[in-house]
Every structure is written in structure tokens, then in C-alpha cells.
């Protein structure tokens, strides 16, 4: 009976968890001596609650930080973010010159077509694993399936 109640409770609790899907993810290819790289993607929130991306973890890098490039009077500023907001029934687009996940101090700079696993952790304690390919540029819109 207790088990049944727990199962029921967890079923009831499910919709509270983030319903996040990750789309159009890519890591920008970088020179072999690049001290920092960036990952981009669209975070889609299919749930009814606003969600915050709190952190990203990637093996093989010294540090991973959430950043946003902002144009302040013509100066492009790298602004470190405590979180990235993903609105309910909405999306946040990570792209060059804007929101990005900064991958710092690579043990070895990954090559084009290499796949890197990212673990994204959100403010409701949920986390998502995504496999992201290293590319020179995002796939153009018309070439996407």
C-alpha cells in the first residue's frame, strides 16, 4: 500500500519536473590551442513552469560556465550568468554573440565531428544529457530534417 502511495505521489509529482528538450546543439570548432570554446543550442521548455539552467558539466574541460555576450555601446562584453532562464512554453536560444555555454581549458581541443557529452542541470533538480557534435558552423535551417 505504501509503495502504491509513493508510486501515485511520484506520478503526481512528474509534471513538476522540467520538460526540457534540447535542439540544434553544436560546439564550435576551435584552433588546436584554443583556451576556450563555446556550446550553442536551443533549450525548449514544454512545461508550464519557468525553468532555470543552473550549470553544465562536460568532461575534459577545466571549467564550464554560463555566459552571455552583450553589446554595450559597441564593446562586446562576456557576462557570466548564474543561470539561464527558459520560459514556460517557450525557448531560449544559445547562439554566437549571445547566450552560450563556455567550455574553458580543454585537456585537448576536440576536432570537427567529435561528439561531446554535456550534462545540463536545472533548478528543479532535473538534469538532461545531450550529445553535442563539434562543427564549424550550425547546420543551415533549410538542411535540417
Amino acid at each position: 500500500m505504501t509503495r502504491f502511495i509513493i508510486a501515485l505521489l511520484s506520478l503526481w509529482a512528474l509534471p513538476l519536473y522540467a520538460d526540457i528538450s534540447v535542439d540544434k546543439a553544436w560546439i564550435r570548432a576551435a584552433p588546436p590551442n584554443a583556451p576556450a570554446m563555446a556550446a550553442f543550442m536551443t533549450l525548449q521548455n514544454n512545461g508550464e513552469q519557468d525553468v532555470k539552467l543552473l550549470s553544465a558539466h562536460v568532461a575534459g574541460f577545466g571549467r564550464v560556465e554560463l555566459h552571455r555576450t552583450m553589446d554595450v555601446d559597441g564593446m562586446m562584453k562576456m557576462v557570466k550568468q548564474d543561470f539561464m532562464p527558459v520560459p514556460a512554453n517557450g525557448a531560449l536560444e544559445l547562439k554566437p554573440g549571445s547566450w552560450h555555454i563556455m567550455l574553458i581549458q580543454p585537456e585537448k581541443v576536440p576536432q570537427v565531428n567529435e561528439k561531446i557529452e554535456l550534462t545540463l542541470t536545472f533548478d528543479d533538480d532535473s538534469s538532461t544529457k545531450v550529445s553535442v557534435t563539434v562543427k564549424e558552423a550550425p547546420i543551415p535551417q533549410h538542411m535540417q530534417p
Binding site: 576551435a30 563555446a38 559597441g74 564593446m75 554566437p96 581549458q105
Partner: protein, 231 residues
């Protein structure tokens, strides 16, 4: 009036008339040049023409990624594009250098004369000719990385009004490093340089001709460069 005096007077009159004609000609030439510039400016998609007073560059001497002198002479004889940044740059520089490589590819496809592209480091502390070479050539084999004494880089950047600042984060706290201040050793690998992302166009006389403010669209540069080169 004797004939000699008359001749002198005539000569003086001719000199004065020529003087006025010269002034008039000069004046109309200035007006014509201004009008031509205004017309060119109105045709340009994003490039901004540089005021005549800023066109001559101050003398400078930096090092290219072959550890050779990079001075004013290197900008003579071909069109050049300059971009200021640094190799620890996570987002802006890779974006710009990738776009510039695409621009050169597109120009090569159209069989246009290619400009020289120089990537000038604002980070003398961490960038060396060796690191600049490896980094810059990744984007295009013809790109040339440039570094040098910070004071020399600062002086050249100042002429182009490049805005930049050194910052680092302690946790979530942003700390700005003012000129002359030391960067803490534990931040040596992580400090950032926020900088403007304009592209500067130098003509084959080694003069600053135009600026492309960021953000850049490849199509705009592709359209503006021939207008600037064939005026």
C-alpha cells in the same frame, strides 16, 4: 603710365586672377570630393567612411606570427582588414574570424583581389607569435596574427578607437582590472578581455579608409568592399 609700369600692373593682375582661380579650383575640388564621399557613404550597406583627419595611421611596430616586424609598410600595396581580439576569446573572435574566412572564400569564388587580414592581439600577456600563428591560421591559411608590446598595441588600438577592458570573475563578482593594475596570478588563465568587434579597412596607401561596426553580415562586407575599392 609708362609701358614698364603698365606691364607690371598687368602681371600683378594676372597673378591675382590666377590666385583666385586656383583657390576657386581648390574649393570646388574640396566640395566635389566631399560630395563624392557623401554619395559613396549613402551607397554603403554598413561601412562607415573615416574622417580625413583620422586616415593617416601613427607609426607602429609590432610582430607578426612569423615573428617579423609588422609596421605601417606592411599595409602598403594591398587592401587590408584589421580585427583586434585575443586567443582566449570564447565567442566574439571565433565568430568574427570564421566570418572573415567565409568572406575571403566568397571573394575568391568571385575572382576578386583578396585583402590581407590581420588579427591583432589585445592580450600581450598571454599571446605570443607562436600562439597567434596556430590560432589565426586555423581560420584561414592567409590570415596573419599580430602581437607586440602592450603599449604599442594600445597606441594602435587607440587610433582606431577600439574599446576594451580586462575583467575577471571571483565567483559571480565581476572585477575590472584598471590600467597599470596587476592581474592576480590565480586569474592568469581565466581573465577576459571585453572588446569592440569592429573591422577596420585600410587602403593600399596604408590609410584607414572605413570601419565595419559589429555585428557583421558577410553579404554586407561583400557588397561594400568593391564600392570602397573602386571609387
Amino acid at each position: 603710365m609708362n609701358p614698364h609700369k603698365r606691364r607690371v600692373l598687368w602681371a600683378a593682375a594676372v597673378v591675382v586672377a590666377l590666385g583666385f582661380a586656383g583657390l576657386y579650383y581648390q574649393q570646388t575640388a574640396v566640395v566635389a570630393r566631399k560630395q563624392a564621399q557623401q554619395q559613396l557613404q549613402s551607397q554603403l550597406h554598413t561601412a562607415l567612411l573615416v574622417d580625413a583627419s583620422k586616415q593617416s595611421l601613427p607609426p607602429f611596430a609590432l610582430r607578426d606570427h612569423h615573428d617579423q616586424v609588422f609596421d605601417n609598410q606592411r599595409l602598403v600595396g594591398r587592401w587590408s582588414l584589421l580585427f583586434f581580439g585575443y586567443t582566449h576569446c570564447p565567442d566574439v573572435c571565433p565568430t568574427e574570424l570564421y566570418q572573415l574566412s567565409r568572406l575571403l572564400d566568397a571573394m575568391a569564388e568571385k575572382k576578386r583581389a583578396l585583402p590581407q587580414v590581420f588579427f591583432i592581439s589585445l592580450d600581450s600577456l598571454r599571446d605570443t607569435p607562436v600562439s597567434m600563428q596556430q590560432y589565426t591560421r586555423y581560420f584561414h591559411p592567409d590570415f596573419i596574427g599580430v602581437t607586440g608590446e602592450q603599449s604599442a598595441v594600445d597606441a594602435l588600438a587607440a587610433h582606431f578607437q577600439v574599446a576594451y577592458e580586462t575583467v575577471y570573475y571571483q565567483g559571480s563578482n565581476l572585477i575590472k582590472v584598471n590600467k597599470g593594475e596587476k592581474i592576480p596570478p590565480e586569474q592568469a588563465n581565466s581573465y577576459l578581455i571585453n572588446h569592440s568587434a569592429s573591422i577596420y579597412l585600410i587602403n593600399p596607401q596604408g590609410q584607414w579608409r572605413a570601419v565595419f561596426p559589429s555585428p557583421h553580415q558577410e553579404a554586407d562586407l561583400l557588397a561594400d568592399l568593391p564600392l570602397l575599392a573602386h571609387e
